[in-house]
Symmetry: C2
Subunit: 707 residues, 2 copies
């Protein structure tokens, strides 16, 4: 577009920055890609450009209406039509956009307007833009380029295009709304999600209103995560990576006690080997990343990056396991894997590269394998409940949801109250002999229990994995509108000590006394193994520091001011409840560790109560979708047939509101068949019917929307 190019040039002096980026086809992906680019302004709002076509006589040339608004502004077409006195405004077709501007909807912006086109359209601008101090991101007539402009520059530019006949229309959409039809709640609520006065360092968005934006904001503001220039990949900053290190330490000790050893296997796997197990590879092949070139040479054969390591490892299990004396073989890897998902990525929960551990064991008997599957699952439960204070329900996956190639899959299943979605939090699979049989990897030994001495037996195998998803679940469950809330056992800083009551007028001696007391308190705590830190930064008020550490989720704050010092005490403030209580400095070595344990227990109890409150026993299909819409997990008597599961997913998805096609599914899938069936009314064989299909029910099964 040479015309828009020249216009862009005229705007160049007003632009704060222009950046190129990956192609983006939705506001969500556009925002993500900008957030991931360190060269863009730190805070910005997206500008949307909508084109409407009014109803006109067939013979008349249509005059399109161009609406330029903040992405979050609700632009009701009916209210706008009424105001402009135009009939039946409809979003223009792609054809019309192409005809008028030579652009598609992901490239079009106000920059496409020039002296020529301006007079042929009606241009409407969101009145709040002109006066805003925000920086606005505007599509630079391309879905892969963005220009940053102030509100003032946008309006000045558009006004420069005005002619005597055609003026820019400023419309106060906020005022319009009250006249128009009832706005859709979702959009209205997102407006309300902004927390008043929550500028600078606060989270700025309410968890209960715009959960997705809240999550993103918490992660960024707490220095947990940084968006990265390759979509779906994220940077784990020390504040989150240290949590992973805590989990690693704990889990390593437990599995080593079980005789598991750590090892390292290559990240690459040849196509030939990857494709050895058919069910398995079918489960992964759509997401496999392929290396095809090294330096400037094409590889003879493309090489896959592991999506998981079964096929990487088992050819060597076959080599190493020659006698029943070589069993059990128990190896674990801490590594990175790649699954190139095309669904919308979500930090920690769905990422293209992620960190995890994967254990791979081989046993002589099924009984041994079965036993280990449950031992590992119990460790996963303990990681969540005892380290992260997040409750789990243990169970087995349905046939449809089990791991590709497994005999059966057990799971710890979590729940995110804010979204009402279940989340698969860790899985321990029994692979049976699927991978060891002769046509697969042929992991075989002589059977020591065979009386003839001639018998052979194929190894019974397990694999089990826990990933950095743990961290995302923890954030979603515990965080609040002040930011992150860290469970004490994994917090990099468990206790922060803030000097108070010092002002600019305080004399040096008093200041030193307080600071020294904070420092000493920190040392005392560090000596008994508490991760404590005194925040003695100069030039920051206590209030700023409180906010800063609250946002970062530090479980406990201790304040020391002159009065505290006089009384030989410190004021403790809990992050989870906000509860304040003085603590005698003399008892600190016992009270603080106890208090941290109390915080852990209270956080767990609160989360458990929420989980339980959202487990809805459903016995009629009519109550099923309403339960989901009520942000609950529906626990139903179920027949355990795959066709029924497909049907439930389809029917529950259909009745839900439409979603972004790449968003998590609105249909419910089975989450787990809980081991503990006793918490629900006993199922009577042949009498209790499946809620999905009316056939005989087998067990209570959790169904829900999920991540």
């Amino acid at each position: 577009m040479s015309s828009s190019d020249s216009l862009t040039a005229s705007l160049a002096s007003l632009a704060v920055a222009t950046v190129s980026h990956a192609d983006t086809n939705s506001p969500v992906s556009w925002r993500d890609v900008l957030l991931a680019d360190p060269s863009v302004p730190k805070s910005f709002e997206l500008i949307k450009t909508l084109v409407y076509k009014p109803k006109t006589a067939k013979t008349a040339t249509p005059v399109p209406v161009i609406v330029i608004a903040r992405d979050e502004t609700q632009t009701s077409s009916s209210a706008l039509g009424k105001k402009l006195n135009l009939k039946e405004l409809r979003l223009a077709s792609e054809d019309l956009l192409a005809e008028f501007f030579g652009l598609d909807k992901n490239s079009l912006s106000l920059l496409a307007l020039n002296k020529d086109t301006f007079s042929k359209v009606v241009t409407v601008i969101d009145a709040s833009i002109a006066s805003s101090s925000a920086m606005f991101a505007v599509r630079a007539c391309s879905s892969s380029s963005t220009v940053f402009l102030s509100g003032k520059a946008i309006v000045e530019h558009l006004k420069s295009l005005e002619t005597d006949d055609t003026r820019l229309e400023e419309v106060d959409f906020a005022a319009l709304k009250t006249d128009g039809p009832v706005p859709k709640p979702a959009v209205k609520e997102k407006e309300d999600a902004k927390i008043d006065g929550a500028v600078q360092i606060a989270i700025g968005v309410k968890k209960e209103v715009d959960f997705s934006a809240w999550y993103q904001s918490v992660l960024l503001k707490a220095d947990m995560l940084e968006y990265y220039s390759v979509s779906g990949c994220y940077i784990l900053r020390p504040w989150s990576y240290s949590i992973w290190e805590e989990i690693q330490d704990w889990f390593n000790k437990k599995i080593k006690a079980m005789g598991v050893q750590n090892a390292s296997f290559p990240m690459f796997v040849s196509a030939k080997v990857l494709e050895r197990e058919k069910d398995h590879v079918e489960g992964f092949s759509p997401e496999v990343a392929w290396v095809t070139r090294a330096g400037s040479s094409d590889l003879e054969e493309p090489i896959a990056i592991r999506p998981t390591s079964e096929t990487v490892m088992y050819p060597y299990y076959s080599k190493w396991i020659k006698s029943h004396r070589d069993l059990p073989l128990k190896l674990n890897l801490w590594n990175n894997v790649v699954r190139w998902e095309f669904k919308h990525p979500q930090p920690f929960l769905r990422t293209r590269e992620y960190l995890w551990q994967e254990g791979h064991t081989a046993h002589l008997t099924k009984a041994e394998a079965d036993k280990e599957v449950l031992e590992i699952l119990e460790l996963y439960r303990r990681v969540y409940e005892e380290l992260l204070a997040v409750p789990m329900i243990k169970g087995v996956k349905s046939e449809k949801e089990k791991f590709a190639g497994a005999l059966y899959t057990t799971t710890v299943e979590g729940f995110i109250p804010a979204s009402g979605r279940g989340i698969q939090a860790g899985t321990s699979h029994c692979l049976g002999q699927n991978f060891s049989k002769p046509e697969m990897f042929n992991i075989v030994v002589e059977d020591p229990n065979d009386p003839t001495g001639q018998g052979k037996t194929y190894a019974w195998q397990n694999s089990w994995g826990l990933s950095t998803r743990t961290i995302g679940v923890m954030v979603m469950v515990h965080g609040d509108n002040q930011g992150l809330v860290l469970p004490p056992r994994v917090a990099l800083v468990q206790v922060v000590i803030v000097p108070c009551g010092i002002t600019a007028k305080s004399i040096e001696e008093d200041r030193n006394k307080i600071n020294d007391a904070c420092d000493e308190l920190a040392k005392t705590l560090v000596d008994i193994g508490v991760r404590a830190k005194a925040d003695l930064r100069e030039g920051y008020t206590p209030g700023y520091k409180f906010n800063d550490w609250e946002q970062k989720g530090v479980p406990l704050r201790l304040e020391i001011g002159p009065n505290d010092l006089a009384k030989q005490q410190t004021l403790s403030v809990r992050r989870d409840t906000g509860a304040k209580a003085p603590v005698a400095l003399a008892d600190i070595k016992t009270t603080i560790p106890q208090l941290l344990d109390t915080i852990h227990n209270d956080m767990y109890a609160k989360a458990l109560e929420e989980y339980n409150a959202h487990l809805k026993e459903v016995t009629n299909w009519e109550d099923f979708v309403p339960a989901l819409d009520n942000k609950c997990v529906a626990v139903i008597p179920w027949c355990e047939r795959e066709a029924c599961e497909d049907d439930i997913k389809e029917r529950s998805g259909r009745s839900a509101e439409p979603q972004d096609e790449r968003a998590p599914s609105a249909g419910a899938k089975s989450l787990a068949i809980p081991f503990d069936q006793a918490r629900w009314t006993p199922i009577e064989p042949g009498k209790t019917k499946c809620v999905g299909c009316g056939q005989d029910a087998k067990r209570w099964t959790m169904f829900g929307r999920s991540y």
Copy 2:
């Protein structure tokens, strides 16, 4: 080749296995690819097929001589010619191979001979093949397919092609050698490298004779490593990975005390970002692996796998560092990186994927950065000397050898006595402001020391890395002809306790008494933090166990037999020296930890002595190459000019024997300019001349062949 195909078919019944593999164009790569394939027989020898052309009258049709021999057999063409009464046997050209067999030299084998061709050539077989019990790997008329045959099958097959006129010639090359010209020492020595009677579980090759085969054998037999189906990638088994875990634990504690925090960054980097720093990317681009496809979709832009993370991380350093208060920023990653080297890979030392840590820090001043560079280098020295008992020399790299994009590179430089090569063992770089300057990543803060308050300053950056190369160096330095020798501080098993003096005739009670005593001793040691293990395996003799654990390098063996028990003592046997001494069980808690420390110190002292003995002060060029050929590092007064370094490399390479083109260079490069110059004769400025070029020398510099 249909003729050879049908012949292959006739041999099929005799073949033990036939495997397909990557294309290989040398015996080394052929052997590697077979070792990496778990489906091939566990031990095998390569068969080479050589074709010679005798001098014949121009009008006569040449009769090629086909020699079929073990890869290691020396097949002297002159001795063979004398024996066959043929003049001037020369290796045949590729053209002749193509003409006769339709194959190139990497595909040709005895399988190409058939009833038709056999009678047109002279076929000679190494007489030792027929009687050998070894399994032989034979090219299946393809460089990417191998058939395994017994010696008997090979000879039978060839004999089946005999006609009345044309017989198979069996030649005893070992006997031939004594008649012929003096054999090249290298080949002669390789024959001798096999250790007599060293079958089954021993190393089988002498370190001082065939170092490369010894290294491979030690790693495999000690369960340190497994070859993998993707060339240049290896499996680190628990026996080696646990060493890496020990290094991680130690190093993490030290850097965390320095204020360094661990984090995780993505493994992918876009081409645009990777190419930001020109010098840097030039250093790495020939080795970068590119992902171009995900599932069945081509990516819009290829994405690189990090060869190192400077360009991955620094865009975000620029974002995070906004004030001098944000400095220093000190992050460390434990991750995997990929450098797709085309040189011959070597386990641990040169691999396409490897594990390492990479630290990346940013500082306000050069002084701070300089200080940290040396602090980290000191930690690297300590990892080698205090954990691995491997001596290092600290120094700075020449301009030519410094890290791509660095201001300067410091190094701990090790030495492998068996090969006489230096090895870069860990590097700590000051990047200066090369990456922080505005045209690169623009990592800038206001200068707090600028009196105007207007000044800006660019961050001073360091990066430093230590890899699993550590493990390879340790194996090469300490290992011996019994196998691995592990330094005690990193050994997964430090002490193994073996019950002795029990025979098949021993009564149950005596057996139990001894076993219980071993078990108890192990528990006592574990309680005081010694990694001890009682080897109570049934069905193995003590001798077998001794050999097994020696091969795996366990630093200390304790034997308990009936007599020991009576005397309340145990016999200690050191792996490093073989020294035996009784130890009273009563004192075990003090003597064993002391003995482990002594072993560490003695191993270090021995290695240091060897390093020092091979540091040769050279002041005349005439002594330079002889020093290298004597497996020494030449320490010379040097001018420090890059042109001189190039010249030294070229001249020293030229005078050396020719090597496999992918082998480490025979030319000497500068290894390090040691910090400690005082150990050599003082250089007199303007008077002491450079050994390379005769210009004024600056400092003593280590030159050597290297890895």
